[in-house]
Amino acid sequence: MAREWETVIGLEIHAQLATRSKIFSGSATAYGGSPNVQANLVDLGYPGVLPVLNREAVRMAVKFGLAIGATVARRSVFARKNYFYPDLPKGYQISQYELPVVASGAVEILLDDGARKSVGVTRAHLEEDAGKSLHEGLGRMSGIDLNRAGTPLLEIVSEPDMRSAREAIAYMKKIHTLVRYLEICDGNMQEGSFRCDANVSVRPKGARDYGTRCEIKNLNSFRFVERAINHEVARQVELIEGGGKVVQETRLYDPGRDETRSMRSKEEANDYRYFPDPDLLPLSLDDAFIEDVRQGLPELPDAKAARFAKEHGLSDYDAGVLTASRELANYYEEAARASGGKWKRTANVVAGEVLGRLNRDGLDIQDARITPILLAGLVARVEDETISISSVKPVFEWMWDHGADADAAIAAKDRRQIKDTGAIEKAIAEVMAANPRQLADYRAGKDKLFGFFVGQVMKATAGKANPAQVNELLKRMLAGP
């Protein structure tokens, strides 16, 4: 008999902070340089060098803490995490252990069924990133590039509050959106600026204790996170149901094979021998510092979405879509204001046409080929009935392809709405004449055929007839003399 299993997931997210220089040295953090050109003596762990803390990294950590409603520690301590690995030049990573800069907070996620759930964030702390190892093309050697060593990271640890891969994705996306809103991280997963490790365990439904968990490392896309978690859950359940026990270990997700593998090099339980770093003094943050950061906080996604829903009358879902990034939200809002407050219409066009086109072309909102002002022009032409709804898409596409305004597109595509009563009556008459059987059936009582006639009239007018007028005139004319 198969038991019912409950999945327990916690996520550890490493967000690279978007500072200009590294957390403990003045080296550049820019991505993609030639190997080791952005690694100075401090990053290389040379004899005699010492770390000095980057103020902006601290501000960014505090920003995050305030945004998730967490306590910002007035006093926090940097600790050394000791282990040997070639991409860790000092043989220890400077991190925070017992006293992190941000203590517990929470974020709210929107589930698939529209319900809301609060996911706890246990802590967030500052630490330095390690370098990179390259294993190809060097024979029996690996090559170490330390450009990345010393880049500031904010490690965000969630409570084990998630109960499915979908919830985990929702949480991860929420954090991803949040760090980009706060402009503390560019969220670029391909470049490794936003990395996720998942702690996954299962337990019988109703059990109070947690099962043994496995850590799945370096998941660099939302899709991989979901697949890896689902695979891991299945693996653990099968293992336990087959009489085995889950071994606490670190596993790597292989997207090619869609499976997780035990990581050989991290097999042994590491004793990190944490102790406070004697080269750094305790980080002390006063009220003035924290208040200054608070003043600089932007309107956060939840607040913005709530405002769109309340003040603009958008649905929660639409508000959520439009606040996925600050840039998108700003685009929408600018266009809607320029259109004279036509919130819903603008939302529809942005969500429907703009996002659709960006997706197709593989672009971000910053690369939009139509400015918010031009988009507002399109909205205005719908509102003033110059064009009908069904003309929006072709007009929009023309505007986008030519970088043009709505009027130019409407003229070029000949999409002006037909509002002349005479012309519409003429079209209706032609349609009635062309479909005598349906006319007879309609007059005999088949009301459903009204939609058929509407469709035929629209087809005959290439979708340009004003729908309200078509409805009114069709009703009158179909009714008969």
Binding site: L41, L44, G45, Y46, P47, G48, V49, L50, P51, V52, L53, R80, N82, F84, P86, P89, K90, G91, Y92, I144, D271, R273, Y274, F275, P278, D279, L280, L281
Partner: protein, 486 residues
């Protein structure tokens, strides 16, 4: 007066009075080094060309009237300070091929003051030792008796200045490594307050204890060099941002009214009789000059050595992890895999004492032992610090012996690490509390120097230097030179 009988201050004055040129002075000392070093092993690297270049630059500065008190004065740096373009070995095989790509802040500042670099001095490996017997480059000999140790870890600097083959030298002090060799070789060994001098470029042993300082012939020399070395450095987070007084100006402060405390726990078992007598006599001399002397108990001080031998190894076990054969330093031949690279490079590169301390440190930080050892030791450290604070509420300075015995024979204590560690029983306390302290020569016992240690509260360098200076105005122990080097 011959140059090598002159203090650094005297040489500086002589240079500005155009009695001789910096180049002449440099050549004089380089010649002495060439003759004496084989017998002392004080230097790992002699930088003759650099010295002459520095000297020529100094002469130009003096000619333009821009010379300061140290311009053109020769100096030796302990081989723990990174010197750009020059081998910086830290007394270890691990760095025996390491040419530093940058200058330590201490090196930059003394260079800016116009000092002339004679070379890099021998030291206990990674500053771990009290006799300069753990160096990869072989033991250093005490100029007072070449069968005896000069003390450590700054043994090379001490031997160089004691034999007057260099007028002054830098050192570092983590558990007594400036003061103890100073005592064993008849020098003024000064360790400033923790944070007074930048640690940037000073190869780390135990980060919360290490401090740079001076092995000098006199308090005046120490004042001049310290004044040039000290001060805030933005590259060192533990560097204190406080103004540096003109130490040389403050030397003439009178001793009358000075409140001296003697530490009861320092005069018990373990202190050699002759040393104890010389130190007590010195303290008595102060009393006769108008100082008051009070006996105080610092009851936690006897735990200094065990505290130190938990904290220092813990910090060093982590500080020395960077030596892995990957980016610099010794690398074993033909490593078969990563583990082999690490184990053999480090096994070959480090000597026994360093390995012992790394392993001790690894143990006391490891899971299950952290609370009982490391955390406990840091708590006892607080107790020791509190003892000192209470004492300085009653007295201005504390006095006592620097080392328990005069210099001992080379090889006499190398079999027993604990026996060796006990050489630091009087010096370690000041490191744990971050206090400034100085050792000044106060006698000879069987022909070997003995030191008086003076410890002050944080940032009391001026008072310590003045106290040492007053002593040196009234006595001439600091002017004694072993006959072979006079």
């Amino acid at each position: 007066m011959s140059l090598h009988a002159s203090t650094a201050a005297e040489i500086g004055r002589g240079l500005r009075a155009k009695k001789y040129s910096s180049v002449e002075v440099a050549k004089h000392f380089l010649g002495r080094i060439e003759r004496a070093n084989p017998g002392l092993n004080a230097f790992v690297t002699v930088t003759a060309e650099r010295a002459l270049a520095d000297a020529r630059r100094a002469d130009e500065r003096i000619a333009r009237g821009h010379g300061g008190p140290l311009t053109g004065v020769p100096l030796a740096h302990k081989d723990i300070f990174c010197t750009a373009g020059i081998l910086t070995s830290c007394g270890s095989r691990m760095l025996s091929n390491f040419v530093a790509p940058y200058d330590a802040t201490v090196v930059e500042r003394l260079d800016a003051a116009g000092m002339v670099l004679l070379g890099k001095t021998n030291m206990d490996e990674f500053a771990m030792g009290s006799s300069n017997e753990t160096s990869y480059y072989g033991p250093v000999k005490n100029p007072w008796d070449t069968g005896k140790v000069p003390g450590g870890s700054s043994g090379g600097s001490a031997a160089a200045v004691a034999s007057r083959i260099a007028p002054v030298a830098t050192g570092t002090d983590t558990g007594g490594s400036i003061r103890q060799p100073g005592a064993l070789t008849g020098l003024t060994g000064f360790k400033p307050t923790y944070g007074r001098v930048s640690r940037y470029g000073m190869i780390a042993f135990a980060s919360s204890l290490d401090q740079a300082g001076v092995l000098a012939q006199s308090a005046e020399d120490a004042a001049l060099v310290l004044g040039a070395m000290a001060g805030f450095d933005a590259r060192d987070s533990t560097s204190v941002d406080a103004p540096v007084p003109d130490y040389a100006k403050g030397l003439e402060r009178p001793v009358k009214g000075l409140r001296i405390g003697i530490i009861r726990e320092f005069f018990g078992e373990g202190l050699d009789a002759g040393t104890g007598a010389a130190v007590r006599a010195a303290i008595d001399a102060f009393r006769k000059e108008g100082a008051t002397v009070t006996e105080l108990s610092l009851p936690n001080l006897p735990l200094s050595v065990p505290t130190y031998y938990v904290v220092a190894p813990a910090e060093c076990s982590s500080n020395l992890s960077r030596y892995d054969g990957v980016r610099f330093g010794h690398r074993c031949k033909d490593p078969k895999d990563l583990l082999d690279l690490y184990r053999r490079s480090r096994g070959e590169g480090f000597g026994a004492e360093v390995k012992r301390r790394i392993m001790t440190g690894t143990y006391v930080l490891s899971a299950g032992y952290y609370d009982a050892y490391y955390l406990k030791a840091q708590k006892v450290r607080s107790l020791i610090n509190a003892d000192f604070r209470r004492a300085f509420g009653q007295v201005d300075v504390l006095m006592g012996p620097t080392a328990p015995t005069p210099a001992f024979a080379i090889g006499a204590k190398t079999d027993d690490p604990i026996l060796m560690y006990l050489n630091d029983i009087y010096t370690i306390g000041a490191n744990l509390a971050g206090l400034p302290a100085v050792s000044v020569p106060c006698g000879l016992v069987d022909g070997l120097p003995v030191g008086l240690q003076v410890i002050g509260p944080h940032f009391s360098e001026e008072r310590l230097l003045a106290t040492a200076h007053a002593w040196q105005c009234a006595t001439d122990w600091h002017r004694r030179v072993p006959a072979a080097y006079a």
